[in-house]
């Protein structure tokens, strides 16, 4: 085998720039690779549109300012939507909440998954079995189906969407963090801390967690991309903000009947969502290359290690 580092190897982290947080130095090194820079540029462009958009939007996003599916004109550069509202203004207003929800869902998923994975790996006995069986059960629901199930029970509330998407990330994160923790728990500095009588909870937060930065960053990037995909998808299906509010996912669905008349009402939000997910995913890929140092993602490396020719 061509010197594949194990899926997680803290030593492979880039040389820390003195005085910086390790995760900042990973971000910095990643942003300077061509792939990282390309991903970051795409994602930041969309973030800029979403954040500054509401301040610069030329019309109110909910005013019936022009004609139904009006063609683009000087006053309405992207034309009108299915009710005759200004598409440009709706595009500029329809992104920030999607971004906010995706970030929140990712944070929930990473926090819950990391806590569960570390606990399962580090604490001996029943917690491991209980946590991993729970993980198996949640993994038996496709993420979108899990979210739809919760929404069907409690109604389409925004906090519930965030919670459902976050929780549906947790099992996959827990699996990755569990195997990383198993590896780190065997290291000398952890043993030393244990011998000094450090309590398990403190060993986990002070000794193990700082060494999980690389897998956590890659997981966070992946889950952010998936959060955007799922939350925008739910909005597309009609489970998002209630109607008058602008939302990129909802816009694609409500304006697709008018594709022949004004395709921009669909193309603009679709391109923004695509640019955002391609950007976050490309940047995550670059983070994986910087921290793990191979041309593949942790989950792929794990499969190769598992079945590769070396392990006879």
């Amino acid at each position: 085998m061509t010197g594949i580092a194990p899926a997680v190897s803290p030593e492979a982290a880039p040389p820390a720039r003195t005085g910086r947080h390790p995760w900042l130095s990973v971000l910095w090194s990643t942003a300077r690779t061509p792939r990282g820079a390309a991903g970051l540029t795409m994602a930041l462009l969309v973030v800029l549109v979403a954040v500054i958009g509401p301040a610069v939007s030329p019309h109110s996003p909910n005013d019936l300012a022009t004609l139904t599916f009006a063609k683009p004109s000087g006053q309405f550069p992207l034309g009108g939507d299915f009710l005759g509202r200004d598409v440009l203004s709706r595009v500029l207003n329809g992104g920030w909440l999607l971004l906010l929800m995706a970030v929140a869902a990712t944070a929930i998923g990473i926090a819950a998954g990391a806590a569960a994975g570390m606990t399962a790996a580090y604490l001996p006995g029943p917690p491991d079995g209980i946590i991993m069986r729970t993980v198996d059960v949640i993994l038996a629901f496709p993420q979108l189906v899990f979210a739809l199930l919760l929404l069907s029970l409690l109604g389409p509330k925004l906090w519930l969407i965030v919670l459902a998407v976050g929780l549906s990330h947790a099992p996959a994160v827990a699996r990755v963090i569990r195997s990383a923790t198993l590896d780190i728990a065997e290291r000398d500095y952890v043993k030393v801390a244990e011998l000094q009588g450090m309590r398990p909870a403190k060993v986990m937060t002070k000794e193990i967690l700082p060494n999980l930065i690389s897998p956590l960053m890659v997981e966070a990037g992946l889950r952010l991309t998936y959060s955007i995909v799922i939350i925008a998808g739910l909005a597309f299906l009609g489970f998002g903000q209630p109607p008058p509010t602008a939302n990129w996912g909802t816009m694609i669905n409500e304006n697709r009947i008018g594709l022949q008349l004004n395709p921009w009402a669909v193309i603009a939000p679709a391109v923004l969502i695509a640019l955002l997910t391609i950007g976050t995913n490309t940047f995550t890929d670059a983070v994986a290359r910087v921290t793990i140092g191979v041309d593949r993602r942790p989950e792929e490396a794990a499969l190769l290690d598992d079945l590769g020719p070396e392990q006879a």
Binding site: F141, P142, L144, L149, L154, P263, V266, N281, R296, A312
Partner: protein, 335 residues
């Protein structure tokens, strides 16, 4: 369910059980337990958590007589365990109750959808696997060439695209704005199946293929590069085995094992992926059925579709483990 119902073989005393039978048995046992828990979770969640399910269905301000009737229909007057038992045994005997939205039997509503979705998933899986494996193998053989660079960057970009964005892109290109080659919606007359109008399948299948191919491609490429750099390929080269034989009989079989797991993961993805794609194209499968049922709070239909998808998930998991094991030559022999 066929895979899951294989009984776990007791280990023969005195010698090791065959590793494959052992694995199938163990995974099937875990799978059955998982499914059992899943069914209980789905049941409890849908029937109990939101307070009164009948009220959830009819909405606030429902008149008391209808409320009572719906409660009876959902067996809400019985004990919790009885309710679960009625529902669970119904899953096996086909007595799934009636849809709350239109009063028709759930099985009659779902069966044609199930078949249509199966057609979609199987067509996508076969086409996507062939394309992904072929592209991955070619990229690995031409590592660092232009084909490798172009396909790798394209795969990275496409991997992250939401399926409904891909679907809309295809509709814009092939059926509305640019060209008018294919139907933008896959409406089927009631009582007919997808294969009666194959042209309706083209865009939904193409969308899902575009979404799954990058994963299969990436894995195949990585595994193939690894196999080509291995000692046994080196050995074969030194023995003077022709290159095409090295690729086909030495590298490819070894690269397939991890790829099969990724193909399995993509079938799992399809269980969720069909939801959005069927909705976009108005394709009458269970994904679209689930969206409609969630909109209407049609609890018996939601319960059945979710459990069916979970069962599919568990079975594919077991199957991909077993096939990957069978595809790993050195693991076939009992140790």
């Amino acid at each position: 369910m066929a895979t899951a119902s294989v009984p776990a073989l007791p280990a023969v005393s005195g010698r090791e059980a065959h590793p494959i039978l052992d694995l199938v048995g163990r995974r099937a046992a875990i799978g059955i337990v998982t499914l059992f828990v899943v069914s209980a979770v789905v049941f409890l969640a849908t029937q109990v958590l939101p307070g009164n399910a009948a009220l959830a269905v009819l909405g606030r301000g429902a008149n008391p007589a209808r409320l009572r009737a719906t409660e009876l229909q959902l067996h809400l007057n019985r004990g919790l365990f009885d309710q679960y038992w009625i529902w669970l045994s119904g899953l096996f005997t086909g007595k799934l109750g009636t849809s709350l939205a239109n009063g028709q039997p759930v099985w009659g509503l779902i069966e044609p959808r199930l078949i249509n979705s199966a057609v979609l998933v199987i067509a996508t899986g076969v086409i996507g696997t062939v394309i992904g494996v072929a592209l991955g193998a070619i990229a690995a053989l031409r590592k660092d060439g232009w084909f490798d660079h172009v396909t790798s960057v394209a795969a990275l970009a496409v991997t992250s695209l939401p399926e409904f964005v891909v679907a809309i892109g295809l509709i814009i290109l092939f059926s509305t704005v640019v060209l008018h080659l294919l139907p933008a919606v896959s409406l089927l007359p009631p009582g007919t199946y997808a294969w009666s109008q194959p042209e309706l399948l083209v865009l939904p299948v193409a969308t899902l293929v575009i979404v799954i191919v990058p994963y299969i491609f990436r894995m195949m490429r990585a595994a193939m590069i690894e196999a080509l750099e291995s000692d046994y390929v080196e050995m074969a080269r030194l023995k003077g085995v022709p290159e095409w034989r090295i690729v086909l009989t030495h590298a490819l079989p070894n690269a397939m094992a991890p790829t099969i797991q990724v193909i399995g993961l993509n079938f799992l993805y399809l269980a969720g992926g069909v939801v959005l794609v069927e909705y976009v194209f108005n394709y009458p499968g269970i994904g679209q059925g689930l969206v409609f049922a969630v909109e209407n709070r049609d609890i018996p239909v939601i319960q059945f579709i979710v459990v069916t998808l979970a069962a599919f998930y568990v079975c594919v998991n077991i199957a991909s483990d077993v096939v990957a094991l069978l595809a790993t030559p050195r693991r076939r022999i009992p140790r």
